[in-house]
């Protein structure tokens, strides 16, 4: 009996390992098969039209960018854009299927073809560009650090020996891991949890996209974004599955057209301004559909 159990486990284990090895050998020849597939499909846009809905990954816990209000409706800056995309592509702004995501799930949602577009505060980074294709940007962002008024953090040096809260899969996490491995990070799956943890004193500060922090600190007067910009200025852009050029090109044209009508400034006034207050100007955050030089 005992022997049998051990044997069966060994068998299972070898099976797994063999499967893994075998695949790694054979797949090298047909590499990038998955991404190739999406190119081959007749037309990504036709597929969406046939389905009748645009599947968009948005945050559900990141007001004012993407959140769900007390009536269960998706709201926020990203959602405004999602609605507009649906309107221009399918003729009806309600034809959006919102897939609620967490920061670290964004790449996998695209890779596993669960969504067409990610509109979830997705910052363009070299690592991510290897995994997905980014369209033109619609926001710009740097990493900010928010801390309690009683012990404000004004420089990275002050963080030495302290705990910094981050949300998994964000640029803030990557930044600190690469540039300041000596600082202890406390990581959460969701922004909700990260902000709660900051309030509960589980860390000395929290690092996130500064735009998000401005809004949050504006509503939480006990906290301040004493360190408002860290690292490089980055862009936030819609992302599609790697190799989905058709949808990517459509998005770029669409974004430029929207930029022409100052769509994103309007969206800012509608969604972000009430949260950010008057201290921040729209031009600090918004990009009108293409990179600014």
């Amino acid at each position: 009996m005992k022997k049998r159990i051990i044997l069966s486990f060994l068998a299972a284990l070898t099976a797994i390992v063999l499967a893994a090895c075998g695949n790694s050998d054979t797949d090298s020849g047909t590499a990038d098969n998955a991404s190739g597939n999406s190119e081959e499909t007749a037309s990504a846009i036709d597929e969406i039209k046939e389905r009748g809905t645009l599947r968009v990954a948005v945050f559900s816990d990141k007001p004012p960018f993407g959140y769900v209000d007390s009536n269960g409706e998706n709201q926020g800056y990203d959602v405004v854009l999602a609605k507009r995309l649906a309107k221009d592509l399918l003729g009806d702004e309600s034809k959006v299927e919102y897939v609620l995501t967490e920061a670290q799930a964004r790449v996998d949602l695209l890779k596993s073809d669960k969504v067409d577009v990610v509109l979830a505060n997705f910052t363009v980074t070299p690592e991510r560009q290897e995994q997905v294709d980014f369209a033109n940007p619609y926001m710009k962002v740097a990493i900010g650090v928010v801390s309690p008024n009683t012990a404000p953090i004004e420089s990275v040096g002050q963080l030495e020996g302290k705990k910094v809260i981050v949300t998994k899969g964000t640029t803030a996490e990557t930044y600190f891991m690469k540039n300041h491995p000596e600082i202890e990070l406390v990581k959460y799956d969701q922004n909700t949890e990260a902000f709660e943890a900051l309030k509960d004193g589980r860390g000395d500060a929290m690092a996130q996209d500064n735009a998000l922090l401005f809004g949050w600190a504006n509503e939480n007067p006990d906290f301040t974004v004493a360190l408002s910009s860290l690292g490089d200025l980055d862009y936030i852009a819609p992302a599609v599955q790697k190799g989905n050029t058709e949808l990517l090109e459509w998005l770029n044209t669409e974004l430029e057209a929207l930029g022409g009508e100052q769509f994103f400034h309007k969206a800012y006034d509608e969604t972000l301004k009430p949260a950010f207050g008057e201290n921040i100007s729209a031009d600090d955050v918004v990009v009108e559909g293409k990179r600014e030089e």
Partner: protein, 225 residues
Amino acid sequence: MLNSGISILFEGINLQRLLLGLLVTLRVASIAVVISIVVGIIIGVIRTSKNKLVQLPFRIYLELFRIIPILVWLFVIYYIVPANFDINLSSEVVALIVFSLWGTAEMSDIVRGAIISLPKHQVESSKALGLSPVQMYRYVLIPQATKRSIPPMINLITRMIKTTALLTMIGVIEVIKVGQQIIEVNNLEYPSASFWIYGIIFLMYFCICFPLSRFSRKLERKWAT
């Protein structure tokens, strides 16, 4: 401050949303339970076979689900399958697959255990009385095995319902996720939101699982002889 916290539930349609979230949870659980029972019984009966070649694969299958945490299974199916095999699975379908596979494995073990644990002399005396194999199963073995497997089966159902809490971690919009959305939006107005929301969800699970486990214990006692 705490007293006012509970009123968060009556803000907008929050309570309704929580209940709808709970419904998603229960939908996954109940479909998986039905599949598990049906397939589990079949596999359970097959597993009573004395043939080692029949036993071994099912045994490995069962042990894999016993050894690897359900949360890990959820992640594995959620991330690995669609990315590598060009199949699109929604998180709810992933949950259904994992829960059904797990429930079937456990269910088959319950059924097998119930049949095997029947005293040998029950078979022998049925044969001695001249019952045909079908009659033996129909009148002697199945009624006894059923009594033995129903209480642990209800326990398994309770466990499956409890484990649905993990679905939030692969992005199923169920009761916990909805709770978190409510917390996020209402945090400012109700600083104690998480205390109340998590408290309520805690209570919801209890209200579903408690009667079930109570029921199974009652049956167990009733059928103890």
